[in-house]
Symmetry: D2
Subunit: 186 residues, 4 copies
């Protein structure tokens, strides 16, 4: 092209980043419904009337936060590059083998959980240890793809959606019992 | 009393917690306007048209988040108890002297900054080091009250409001240039 | 007294802070051995030869870090003041009822886990959810004392000791297989 | 090759990871001395007798921690891949333009600072905002290389070394004044 690239100044396009986040989660084999099922598993004992629809909605809201999108895209990117063996050898070894002393995957996961506050930490640690549902599949090293970052990220999105539900349910409950509800946590 | 206390089961009242947060900030001598001035100082070079009204609004929104309210109330509480000399002696010494190796004040501050993502960290560290405006007064040990927690908390609220503005301004800009804006960061 | 208090300038005494940490853990009914048992439970599947002696040693090393001491003392202090009903009413309610949307206890716990890096997060979330051993007793609301902070803190110390063991075991293994071991993680 | 790759099981080699960290910092144009100069700038007002030798030593100790090595290698890796334009387009845009709303660089930086506790946060925010010395050069977008992650990482290593010095100096002071020093913070 005649026009040099520099002529079009960079400008963040939020919709593109949001769309890419959904696209890459799907491309790496994770559906919103599977994440919503983790949320249901974590929350149904506290809210017996919780519906899958609500779980899906809360997962989507978590995924609409830019901090979450940044972590999801960066983590999936590192998984892909590990598969392509394009990383610095020492990093390649640690990521492709999901080395226990490499904790950057958990650091990215925590940047997701943090957005909805500290009450999500426990849920994250719990699903990350038990690896129910989709997490078990993502963590299965025999299946080919490198999901060192993705399994932690999916657990963190589920934990965050659980925190979001806890905040909302409290607000709903206060409305029902006729309290003058504060404007917070919206 | 005839009626035992247990008869009225505990139920979180969000409005009361929100109101207490505002009440105690004011009682400890910090106005919303002073925090908004810190925000203006941090952000005006990036957004020359930023108004004090916007800064005040963003500070209020930050203060409406429950995670923020929890940190503000807990921090102010520890300052007050240090003034009243009601703490375990070793803790009393560290808090009333704002001991450099005691970092729980900064930990609470970070739980505030985290809510609006990692882009607030830099602003927090900057105001906490330079101590402009209200922070200088809060940090003045000769004035009597113990503000070991409060100065960090006020800096964190200002840094969070700055992050919030950065997220909103980007969304506004994308609307103006006619981009189809994503739904995130709301 | 004739001599005014100001004559003895404040000077942090690390030993006193360390001793107070051990003293208050014990006074609140938690022994080092009980924390070591949590560590054993978390780590024995990875290191079948792990001894209780090693677990105790690692818990003691974690408790010798000042960041950990600060969090332990501050958390226990808030539990005690909640028992004495000396807190701001809204905070009193949240802490004495271990309100789910109050997350400062988890924030203090995370400041402990952070010292040994992100690999401790998962262990923390896991024990905090399952509440094995001592955590079950601490979390029993019917027993009287308020342990809103203490149960999270004890879980965090156990998770940190587990991380510490993981780092050390790797170093030992590398020595055994004759690798020229790096000097890190000391 | 006849021998399948699986025959050599993965085994973390700590020395290799440590060496790679130093190698890549140097390759990206950052010397230990430059980081030590940042430390000196941050700490000399508190410790007038602080020597460059001590600063260098403390930077080296920070770089010997595995959590730090993981963050340094991962950050530099993402900078390199951004230069090579090998990233997912949306991530490519954000990293190569050091987008203000992309905060993963700061998240990695914080995983470094965390290792020495919360007292490093303020120093990190301060140098990250003022960009003295080497940080100014790293942040100069006109010079070619992409240092979106590296400038935050270098600031974080300097802030951590400053925290480490603060902890050690306190221990030294307590020895001098004849106190029975606790064993912590070693």
């Amino acid at each position: 092209m005649d026009q040099p690239k520099e002529k079009v100044p960079y400008s963040l396009n939020s919709k593109k980043v949001a769309d890419a986040t959904k696209h890459w989660l799907q491309k790496r084999g994770v559906t919103i419904d599977e994440i919503a099922e983790l949320v249901m598993m974590l929350q149904r004992k506290y809210y017996p009337n919780l519906t899958m629809e609500e779980c899906v909605h809360n997962v989507e809201q978590v995924l609409s936060k830019r901090e979450v999108q940044n972590a999801v895209l960066t983590g999936i990117q590192l998984d892909i590059l590990a598969e392509q063996e394009l990383l610095i050898p020492e990093l390649q070894d640690m990521i492709s083998n999901d080395e226990g002393l490499y904790g950057v995957d958990e650091i990215l996961a925590f940047s997701i959980v943090n957005v909805y506050g500290s009450i999500g930490f426990t849920n994250y640690g719990y699903v990350d240890k038990l690896k129910p549902g989709v997490l078990d599949r993502l963590n299965d090293k025999s299946l080919g793809p490198c999901n060192t970052f993705l399994d932690d990220i999916v657990g963190a999105v589920a934990a965050s959606a659980s925190s979001r539900i806890a905040h909302r349910k409290q607000a709903e409950r206060e409305v029902e019992i006729g309290e003058d509800v504060a404007d917070g946590d919206k």
